[in-house]
């Protein structure tokens, strides 16, 4: 059995290839400056390496038995410890298994994780989207389909108000590359990707298409200004960065 078998993997396998124990028999080829390029070496292997199976086997069995017993009898580590790389919390009397059992166990994603899309709502629950076609334009995957329509509403002062809104707003989640450009492009805070959910597994492709209704169902009321109306959310937002406040354009 080779040497790599007989030693524990936790230490000593950083020997330089031409370290001690290698006897140079001949140098076949040299660099211009005289450094050897090809050497024939004699590898010093212990004569008895083939007879040391039993001790090495016993040692290896000890290691695997330790892991097996720990993992069989001790409870799993807490999800947080398993899920986060480099989480400290070396709890005592827990086993070594790191597996997260999705979907029963779910890891909380980072705050800025881009998940399933959602469409935000106006005060009256209607879709905020004005079908400006910015997002289908910017989308590199061409996964957004918007068919606009007009709305007519007679205001209290008798004016007829005509607006644009999407009759159809569909996103094919199988095509989406989750780049987030649609969210960047949206001038109305109408589309967001902050649901923290994956695109769901589906049994046929048609079911992977998110409709206006399904995305609106995940949406909530947005307080952003729209069409010059409504409160300026920038003034009401509590936590603003200092850079933004000093920006002369605002």
């Amino acid at each position: 059995m080779s040497q790599s078998h007989s030693h524990d993997h936790s230490h000593d396998h950083h020997e330089a290839p031409a370290g001690a124990g290698l006897k140079v028999l001949a140098v076949h080829d040299k660099h211009a400056d005289g450094r050897p390029r090809v050497r024939t070496v004699q590898v010093a292997r212990p004569e008895s390496e083939d007879t040391s199976f039993l001790a090495a086997t016993a040692k290896g069995l000890g290691i695997t038995l330790k892991h097996f017993a720990r993992n069989l009898f001790l409870p799993m580590k807490k999800l947080a410890t398993r899920a986060e790389a480099g989480a400290p919390a070396e709890e005592k009397y827990r086993n070594d298994i790191e597996t997260v059992q999705y979907p029963e166990e779910k890891v909380t994603y980072p705050e800025r994780f881009r998940g399933l899309h959602r469409l935000m709502q106006r005060d009256d629950g209607a879709v905020r989207c004005v079908a400006c076609m910015c997002c289908p334009t910017v989308c590199p995957a061409h996964c957004i389909t918007i068919i606009p329509e007009e709305t007519r509403a007679i205001e209290q002062d008798g004016k007829v108000r005509i607006e644009k809104r999407p009759a159809v707003f569909e996103i094919d989640e199988l095509r989406c590359v989750v780049c987030g450009l649609c969210v960047e492009a949206c001038p109305c805070d109408a589309i967001r990707m902050d649901t923290g959910e994956h695109a769901r597994p589906v049994e046929d492709r048609a079911r992977a298409i998110e409709t206006k209704e399904s995305m609106l169902g995940r949406g909530i009321h947005s307080t952003a200004t729209q069409g010059g109306e409504g409160p300026n959310w920038r003034q009401h937002a509590g936590a603003r960065g200092p850079d933004e406040e000093q920006d002369p354009h605002h």
Binding site: H5, F53, G60, H67, F68, L72, I97
Partner: protein
């Protein structure tokens, strides 16, 4: 009310009652006590007088017996089950260690309605006894209740255990509705998948041999189970009583209806195992040849060369145990242990203590025989895939299953030979005896405990084989041959020599 129906029911019930009663009444038959024909006084008084055939048999068999008849009554002429201390052919050894000739088969009926066996034994057996004692019945019980469940569960256990050893979870998902059982049902899923896969046979293979090979791989292993005593001898008549060891030794009538939980009791038992299991090797070799695939052929060749190398030391490593016990019959080894001064239920009397070198050597060679890591050269998944590279579906499944049945079989052999077989430590036929205390148990409880002990020991050894398989990396071909020919073979020869020397020195 429909009276006829009631009557029919009553009739049916009474019939059933009668039937079950008669099953118990007839129950299991007995070996009949019969006069010894070799005794001249007995033979002279017989009616009808002895026939020519009987006289001829007496002349052939009796002088050897009578030479010993004059010796003290407690002197043993023979040892039941032994291959060394035997009676002349045609006579049999009774439980007291005396040779007897009670009848001669196919002549006059001396057994009073019973049948006469080839070794001159009078037997009267009920049909239930015949069914229960029929080898096929035992085989079905052994295979369906112990071997197949264990082998199937091993297919799951191997993946789960290897996962545990590598800090993973392993397959834990297969379920029927809400029944999950930690994933044990994965073997059902596997079996279903293999059954419903297309039975694909490549165009250029030798079709007959291609189909034969998986059967050749699995059938010998099942056959070899015939020699394994998987439980103690059962005495149906005293199932609820405490068995009486002294009566048993005197071969009292109540103990003559024994059912041995061993399919085939044969003097050359372990030799039979070597011979039969060698046939399984043809499965791999023929699969490799018939597949018409160079990788499969390489696998088949490697398989046969490996088997040849390791079978030698496998047989020799067991020779020491033969020398110690004096029998090749697994049942005899289990019943007697290493020495006669200790009870066979004493763990110190099991052969692991008497043949530790033989145990390690045999275990190593036996693992090599299963063609699993670290001896999986014939498969060699990263390079040649192995002799079953062209197989798929259930045909491949048979190879796979054969491997696991072999694991169970080897565990059963090692349990039988080295770890006291079905014996529970300090459990005698009538209960526990340890530290001067005795806890008497009914015969039925003892039997169940002992069968359970056999299963538990076999299971533990299976587990240990999986531990080895997932701990050690694969040998190179040259290392494999070095280990087989330069280490195992000399060591097993030395083991035989030393054992024989010790045996010689302690004999006199």
């Amino acid at each position: 009310m429909r009276a006829p129906t009631m009557q029919a029911r009553a009739l049916l019930l009474s019939l059933l009652a009668t039937l079950s009663f008669s099953i118990f009444a007839i129950g299991c038959g007995k070996e009949k006590a019969a006069p010894n024909l070799c005794d001249n006084q007995v033979a002279g008084a017989l009616q009808p007088p002895l026939t020519d055939a009987e006289q001829a048999r007496r002349r052939a068999v009796c002088p050897a017996i009578q030479a010993e008849l004059g010796s003290p009554a407690d002197a043993r002429q023979c040892e039941p089950g032994s291959s060394i201390l035997t009676c002349p052919a045609g006579a049999h050894c009774n439980e007291n260690g005396r040779c007897e000739l009670a009848c001669v088969a196919d002549t006059v009926d001396r057994c009073g309605g019973g049948t006469c066996t080839a070794e001159g034994r009078c037997v009267e057996r009920g049909w239930l006894w015949v069914i229960l004692d029929f080898p096929a019945t035992k085989w079905v019980v052994l295979i369906l209740l112990l071997v197949m469940p264990l082998a199937s569960i091993l297919t799951w256990m191997e993946r789960r255990q290897s996962a545990m050893m590598q800090d993973r979870l392993g397959p834990n998902r297969a379920n029927i509705g809400r029944v999950k059982l930690k994933g044990i049902l994965h073997f059902v899923a596997d079996a279903l998948k293999m059954i419903f896969k297309e039975d694909f046979i490549p165009a250029n293979v030798h079709k007959g041999l291609f189909a034969l090979a998986p059967i050749l791989a699995i059938a010998p292993v099942f056959i070899a189970f015939a020699i394994i005593p998987f439980g103690p001898t059962i005495y149906p008549h005293v199932f609820t009583d405490v068995a009486d060891s002294s009566l048993m030794a005197q071969n009292a009538d109540a103990y003559r209806d024994a059912i041995r939980l061993q399919i085939w009791r044969v003097d050359f038992g372990l030799i039979f195992y070597f011979a039969i299991l060698t046939l399984a090797n043809y499965g791999g070799t023929i699969a490799g040849w018939a597949s018409y695939n160079k990788w499969a052929l390489l696998g088949g060749l490697r398989s046969s060369s490996q088997m040849m190398s390791y079978e030698v030391s496998m047989g020799l490593s067991l020779m020491g145990t033969f020398l110690v016990v004096g029998s090749l019959e697994p049942g005899f080894i289990v019943e007697h242990g290493a020495v006669s001064t200790m009870s066979a239920a004493n763990p110190a009397n099991w052969l692991w203590l008497w043949q530790p070198v033989g145990l390690v050597l045999f275990f190593t060679a036996a693992i090599a025989e299963t063609k699993r890591a670290p001896f999986d050269i014939p498969e060699g998944e990263p390079e040649i895939i192995g002799y079953f590279v062209e197989y798929s579906g259930l045909r491949w499944g048979l190879f796979f299953l054969a491997e696991f049945v072999e694991i169970v079989f080897i565990s059963a052999v090692i349990t039988t030979v080295f770890f006291g077989g079905y014996h529970v430590p300090y459990l005698e036929p009538d209960g526990f005896h340890a530290f001067g205390q005795a806890l008497r148990l009914p015969h039925g409880v003892v039997v169940l405990l002992q069968i359970g002990a056999f299963g538990a020991k076999t299971f533990l050894l299976c587990w240990f084989q999986l531990m080895i398989r997932w701990t050690l990396p694969r040998f190179r071909a040259d290392q494999l041959m070095n280990l087989g020919w330069k280490i195992l073979l000399p060591l097993s020869l030395a083991n035989v020599l030393v054992t024989a020397l010790i045996k010689l020195l302690t004999l006199n």
